[in-house]
Amino acid sequence: MEFVRPTTFADALAEKAARPQAVPILGGTDLMVGLNAGHPPPPALLDLTAVAELDAWAVDDDEVWIGAGVTYRRLITELGTLCPGLALAARTVGSPQIRNRATLAGNLGTASPGGDTHPVLLATGAVVEAASVRGQRAIPIDDFYAGVKRHALAPDELIRGVRLPIRRGPQQFAKVGTRNAMVIAVCSVAVALDVARRTVRVGVGSVAPTPRRALAAEDLASGLPWDGGPLDDDVARRFGAAVAAATAPIDDVRGTAAYRRHSVEVLARRTLAWALADLDRSEAWDGMTGRSEA
């Protein structure tokens, strides 16, 4: 087994091209668990923590770019306003020690159905920047997840970063676990409202072989109280039911399929209601870019 430690992203891509079986490592919070447990090691570890250009984020009028090496800690402390859904999800990840190391790109590379940030990336319409010596391509998040712990990256590709459209409305995230802290999701839900377009996107986690959107629930957007006022109980119920209907959960040690279907429905209703309540807080959603130093 080799340990490869490039200091520039170009070098990293060259290394990955030369060793397609090399496994990239950032926070190591998933990969090292397996190595510590004696799982068969890959032929090489490609350590990206010395690639300074990945440990950065930037924002322009259209989108927020988050480098592959940005930790959850930074998502929480630095991107809470620009990317509130991501920050909410990041806050539920593991422990402070994990959040000091783990990254969005790591979550994507592992592509676990229970990864905490996937529902938010789905709900916000994120784009994964995949790069290789052949060039760079943008993978819409809807096309990224290919199966349980499988994704759309080619063997020679690395994740350079993630692009999130500037938010156009409130975002919410909630996660059920069987402990109050430091727990893997039994189910999770993210909702993101686009106030100008009057649309809602919903992502769910831990309730199907891959994270996925709840398209039928998104179709109910026109019935939401965009101009203020309370969320109609019947609409909320139909929204929750549509989210639950989008799932294909299993029984496992963390929860039953029936419980997952039920709890994701409850979370969907609640997060939608919270997001709509945030609408009333008279923020200027359409004009905001939230530009800040990066």
Binding site: T92, A174, V176, G177, R179, N180, A181, I184
Partner: protein
């Protein structure tokens, strides 16, 4: 005697030596532990030491048809690969009786059963080579239903000894004939809890020049380890020397052997030191758990809430081997009605053998499972009668003079009714405001108050302290008083295992109080002195504490004799002999005084095999809990808001350490109530990790206000009462009752999972 008679130093009564009993001096190992210098059993290391690993069965039940070690042995760096054929002596071990193979012989009876062991130069090599051992199995269908194992005569025998390890009935009065105004019946289940100590099973075995072995080990009872190891190694006990290494928690899981014999075998075979250290997954497979239980209870009472009878059938799943199942059965039977006066009793407790993971000791030891069930029954009875949960308990509470189910009279204070009134009168916590994880769901951001209901519940438990049922239990202590640099210094030597509970501190406190000497050194616990018994059953303050106290008294008598008195007082480094006061250092001079004492508690008797009657317990201890919970009834998520306890401890020896025991025990009960379960399907453990075996985090454990009462037990040293286990009993039913109060559900199983609340059956 060559010492000159010391001259008097005055007549003013000297100041008491600080740090004695009743105070809370700092732990003597505290500085080492906060600086990372304390040597736990997984930290031990010697040059040239090999690393030992264990190959375990992946099957719950299978015949072994072949083991090929050739490829593993050929790996460079591998020094030994051993199987059952290499066990030098008795190939079995066990605390109650030896039925557990050191290494599997022809058949494996549980997943994780050790099959082969291997030593190599380093952990990586060892683990890689281990995977090259080829074992062929003929897989058999496992026996996994404990009730069928006991009651279904058609089911396979797990072991030649049969599937019932022990059946203990209790019969009082005529429970099958009497009738009652009100009857409640309930079936309950308790899941398989794990001790989940943080320090993994580990140790270092070093071959000795005399053909024996030195083992540095984290255990609860050095001498009973040694006896088992010596028999398996076919060595005389004196050639097996054990020294206690740092213990990273125990809670019962270190009563049985784990890697002890294996490490010694590898060390003796290779002639090199061998260290072993389990990883977390292996630890979950490598020690016994708390017995899962199925319990059916029927309680009959009068209209005014007085219990008439209790009938119960209880099956405890002991898994593949005996371990301590017989004693666990005895506790469940003798304490099966709880701390209540019941005129008619019919209880049958069965310890089953199955192909599930072996179960044995865990804090509370058989009293935990029944406590959850009988307390659930008391709440059901209260509801049926329209009484409050506190009132029904007060109306039936035992007190001094009451009889237990065994007929044993409680002959020391048992102020249960007072304890219940106290806990019920504590102020209730305010409702929770949504801030930083305080609502159910914690940091998951699952509610802003939607679906949240508050509930309050009570639980009461009674636990036997010390070993019961006629066990010849004793503890040995050696106390040596010498003068070093002109100052008196006491050295204490016992074999008692400090597992975190603070016994080291207590020993120093006792010496300071009894001998008035402030400098108290503790020799490492080892087998060069007699047994101290086990650090379990909440017994070490009583037993090793009693032994150290008695040894101090013997030393004090020797001091008195030197000065020509029959008794003296030793205070603040001085000897008070009649009207004169002399320096203790002068009295001791250059002739140290050393006394070794064996301390025994009062004898107990076995339970009658037919009626369960007999004075089987040494001491009994009570704890009462009130739990306040918030439940998100739509998501089934629970946040314990407060967990208040009232406990009678006889005498407070060290308040800070005592509170730590009650807090810790309560938190483990919380874990059993809400999240902790080894999930076993078809005999296979599904969650052997801290990712999926969840123990409470700091966010899950609420404030735990304590009311500590001191009603001395006249039979016990200082009047103390063992305190570590009782809170583990009562916190579980209190929390379950609180969740019931919040949800209106019956909740007949712990741990309560979210789906039990959202999808009740």
């Amino acid at each position: 005697m060559t010492t000159q008679a010391p001259s008097p130093v005055g007549s003013a009564t000297p100041a008491r030596t600080p740090g004695g009993i009743g105070e809370s001096p700092a732990r003597p190992d505290g500085t080492l532990k906060v600086t990372g210098q304390f040597a736990y059993s997984s930290d031990l290391w010697l040059d040239e030491a090999l690393f030992g690993v264990t190959l375990r069965s992946p099957h719950a039940r299978a015949c072994i048809t072949g083991i090929d070690i050739a490829k593993a042995l050929a790996v460079p760096g591998v020094h030994a690969v051993l199987t059952h054929e290499d066990v030098p002596g008795l190939p079995y071990y066990g605390l109650d009786h030896p039925d557990q193979p050191v290494l599997a012989i022809d058949e494996v009876r549980y997943q994780g059963e050790p099959v082969a062991i291997l030593a190599a130069t380093d952990p990586h090599t060892a683990r890689r080579a281990l995977s090259l051992i080829e074992v062929t199995y003929d897989v058999l269908p496992p026996v996994t239903d404990a009730r069928r194992a006991v009651f279904d005569p058609s089911i396979d025998r797990v072991h030649p000894d049969g599937n019932v390890v022990r059946h203990q009935p209790v019969r009082v009065g005529s429970a099958d004939e009497v009738t009652a105004d009100v009857v409640v019946v309930g079936e309950y289940e308790v899941g398989m809890q794990d001790q989940a100590f943080l320090g993994p099973e580990s140790g270092l075995a070093v071959p000795a020049e005399n053909g024996g072995v030195d083992l540095y080990i984290a255990t609860q009872w050095l001498h009973v380890d040694r006896g088992q190891i010596a028999r398996c190694l076919d060595l005389p006990e004196e050639k097996v020397r054990l020294t206690l290494a740092g213990v990273g928690g125990a809670f019962g899981a270190r009563e049985d052997l784990s890697m002890q014999v294996h490490a010694c075998m590898l060390a003796l075979h290779t002639g090199k030191p061998v260290r072993m250290s389990y990883d977390r997954a292996e630890s979950f497979l490598g020690h016994v758990h708390r017995h899962p239980a199925w319990l059916r209870y029927e309680h009959g009472a009068t209209r005014d809430g007085k219990l008439v009878y209790v009938k119960a059938t209880i099956v405890l799943d002991g898994g593949a081997y005996t371990s301590t199942t017989p004693a666990v059965v005895g506790n469940a039977a003798s304490l099966g009605v709880g701390p209540y006066e019941v005129p008619h009793i019919a209880i049958d407790v069965y310890g089953a053998r199955t192909n599930n993971p072996p179960c044995g000791a865990m804090r509370g030891f058989g009293a935990v499972q029944v406590c959850y069930a009988y307390e659930s029954q008391m709440d059901a009875l209260a509801a049926e009668l329209g009484l409050s949960p506190v009132e029904i308990r007060i109306r039936n509470a035992v007190s001094q003079g009451s009889k237990l189910a065994t007929g044993q009279v409680i002959d020391s204070p048992a102020p249960l009714a007072d304890m219940l009134r106290r806990v019920a009168s504590l102020p209730l916590p305010p409702s929770t405001v949504d801030s930083s994880g305080d609502l159910p769901g914690g940091y998951g951001n699952t509610t802003r108050g939607e679906g949240v209901r508050r509930g309050v519940g009570y639980g009461v438990g009674i636990k036997n302290i010390c070993f019961s049922e006629g066990f010849d239990d004793y503890a040995t202590a050696r106390v040596r008083l010498a003068v070093v640099g002109g100052e008196p210094v006491v050295t204490v030597h016992t074999a008692a295992a400090e597992v975190g509970q603070g016994l080291v501190t207590l020993q120093q406190q006792i010496v300071r109080t009894e001998l008035g000497v402030s400098t108290v050194l503790l020799q490492p616990a080892d087998t060069t002195i007699g047994s101290a018994g086990s650090s379990s059953a909440s017994r070490q303050s009583y037993m090793t504490g009693g032994a150290v106290k008695a040894a101090c008294e013997a030393v004090r008598t020797r001091v008195a004799q030197r000065l020509g008195h029959s008794t003296v007082e030793l205070v603040g480094g001085k000897v008070l002999a009649g009207d004169t006061i002399v320096d203790l250092a002068a009295a001791v001079g250059d002739e140290p005084i050393e006394e070794t004492v064996v301390f025994r508690h009062r004898p107990t008797v076995p339970m009658d095999p037919v009626t369960g009657q007999g004075d089987s317990h040494v001491q009994l201890a009570l704890c009462v809990h009130r739990a306040v919970v918030d439940v998100d009834v739509e998501l089934g998520l629970v946040k314990v808001v407060e967990l208040a306890a009232v406990q009678d401890v006889g005498r407070v020896m060290n308040r800070v350490a005592l509170e730590g025991q009650i807090h810790g025990g309560s938190a483990q009960g919380l874990g059993l109530a809400l999240m902790e379960e080894i999930q076993v399907v078809d005999g296979l453990v599904r969650n052997p990790s801290f990712t999926d075996y969840l123990i409470p985090t700091i966010l899950d454990v609420p404030p735990m206000p304590l009311t500590i009462l001191e009603h001395p037990d006249p039979h016990a040293p200082y009047g103390l009462r063992g305190a570590g286990e009782p809170p583990t009993l009562s916190s579980t039913p209190a929390i379950a009752a609180a969740v019931r109060a919040a949800t209106g559900l019956r909740l007949r199983r712990v741990p309560i999972r979210p789906e039990h609340i959202t999808h009740p059956t």
